[in-house]
């Protein structure tokens, strides 16, 4: 298949890209081109037919940075950088680990974190981790800049809550803390494929370091968007001895029981719910083991 014809403009800055998006609104369908590893397949398969592509690859050259316990990832940070950058590996090991499940080496060379979040795929490993990590995005639009939590970013299949002329410029992730453990679990039919179900978990121990202070779980592949497990369903873990498996299994069953995953060609809804239960339990156990220092 060959992409439909479209116009192309390379924006030299985010402000220029926002102006171009705003100018196109209501007149022509414009799409932002970042790494292009999701948008270009959609064009080649004619699933998307924009009139104009606005290329932002030249808009920003900043590297990842850390300030005040927050990892700042410019939206154009490539997946390969997330995988290999020392700052990301140390300050957000969950994200660096999950990137190994994203695409292949060529996709990771081009794909960007901002583009991935803006694409809002319901099976996205990056979106799943961003939710578990309580990440935020900085979005720039005609009215200026705003910061919104990732939990308010995803609307439904491949749709965000951003305004048409808004662009994600940064992703802000609270840096990993001591006594915090993480885990990423995914089931796929073929390595590097879209997740059937993926789970990201964070477990934090309190000062005494043997009871769980908080746990956070996000899931991909179980709804029309990546979703955060209801914190109430994890509340039973809080204060519990960090080695109680019964609590973990109960929380995983409660989280899976609340899901209504769709059936598609890849898996039945029933199977996805079962996977969610198994993977949430595995993720919580591994995250807990990392928090207590029992696992690498």
């Amino acid at each position: 298949m060959v992409a439909p014809a479209f116009d192309y403009v390379a924006a030299g800055s985010y402000d220029e890209a926002v102006r171009l998006l705003a100018a196109a609104e209501g007149d022509r369908e414009a799409k932002v081109l970042a790494g292009g590893q999701s948008l270009m397949p959609m064009l080649n398969l004619r699933l998307a037919r924009p009139d104009l592509l606005i290329d932002i690859n030249q808009a920003d050259q900043r590297p990842p940075s850390v300030a005040d316990g927050v990892l700042r990832l410019p939206a154009l940070t490539r997946h390969r950088v997330l995988l290999e950058h020392d700052l990301v590996r140390r300050r957000s090991p969950l994200l660096a680990c999950a990137i190994r499940y994203v695409g292949n080496v060529r996709v990771r060379n081009r794909g960007t974190i901002g583009g991935s979040l803006a694409h809002a795929d319901p099976t996205s490993e990056i979106g799943c981790c961003a939710l578990a990590l309580s990440a935020s995005v900085v979005a720039r639009g005609p009215a200026g800049e705003r910061t919104l939590p990732v939990s308010e970013l995803f609307d439904t299949y491949w749709t965000t809550t951003l305004d048409p002329a808004e662009i994600i410029t940064d992703v802000l992730i609270p840096a990993a803390r001591p006594r915090q453990g993480w885990s990423f679990q995914e089931m796929v039919r073929r390595t590097s494929d879209f997740a059937i179900v993926a789970v990201a978990a964070l477990v934090e121990l309190d000062e005494a370091a043997n009871t769980i202070a908080a746990a956070r779980v996000a899931l991909a592949g179980v709804a029309d968007r990546v979703t955060l497990a209801d914190p109430d369903l994890l509340a039973g873990l809080a204060g519990g001895q960090a080695n109680r498996n019964g609590d973990v299994d109960a929380a995983a069953a409660a989280i899976a029981g609340r899901l209504e995953p769709a059936t598609d060609v890849h898996a039945s809804g029933e199977y996805r719910r079962r996977l969610a239960r198994v993977l949430v339990a595995r993720a919580l156990r591994e995250a807990r083991a990392r928090a207590t220092g029992e696992a690498a």
């Binding site: 192309y8 080649n44 290329d55 290999e84 190994r100 292949n104 060529r106 060379n109 081009r110 590097s192």
Partner: protein, 182 residues
Amino acid sequence: MTRTPIVLSVNGTDHEVWVLPSDTLLDVLHDDLGLADVRYGCGEGVCGTCTVLLDGEPVNGCLILAVQAAGRPITTLRGLMGPGEAMHPLQECFLRRGASQCGFCTPGMVLTSLDLVRRYAGRGRPSREEIRYALVGNLCRCTGYTKILDAVQEYADLAVSGTGAERAPGVPPGVPPGVTAP
């Protein structure tokens, strides 16, 4: 839609080509410049037959626009060969190991695995598992994967012992010693 002139720097030679904004790099390399070693497989970035090195890194030719590659160094399989079409040592490993059957996937396999071995330069060699992981996005429909892995392993051994493999240029800094498969 109007065509605009761009310069593509392919295998050390500059080519002025007139392209549509929607032309992919694959379209232009294969159709306009006649490079038969860059191939349309899936159009989705999952099969690896259109792999080229852009700025020295493997990318999907089908998922990048030709205009985005203007003025940047592009290497196709042919660009690895020496004077008189002398084979690259990695190609020789493929030949010795019978790692190429119909040959359609071979350019992508060679370029992707060469990138992997280059990244290890001076820090050992990739394990078989790491080679498998690096090649997960390169499909061989003849299913001759075992011999491909053998060929890449042989080349990685040559690169470590410094006998017969190329000197690796321009390995990016800060790359960790290996990425284990999920």
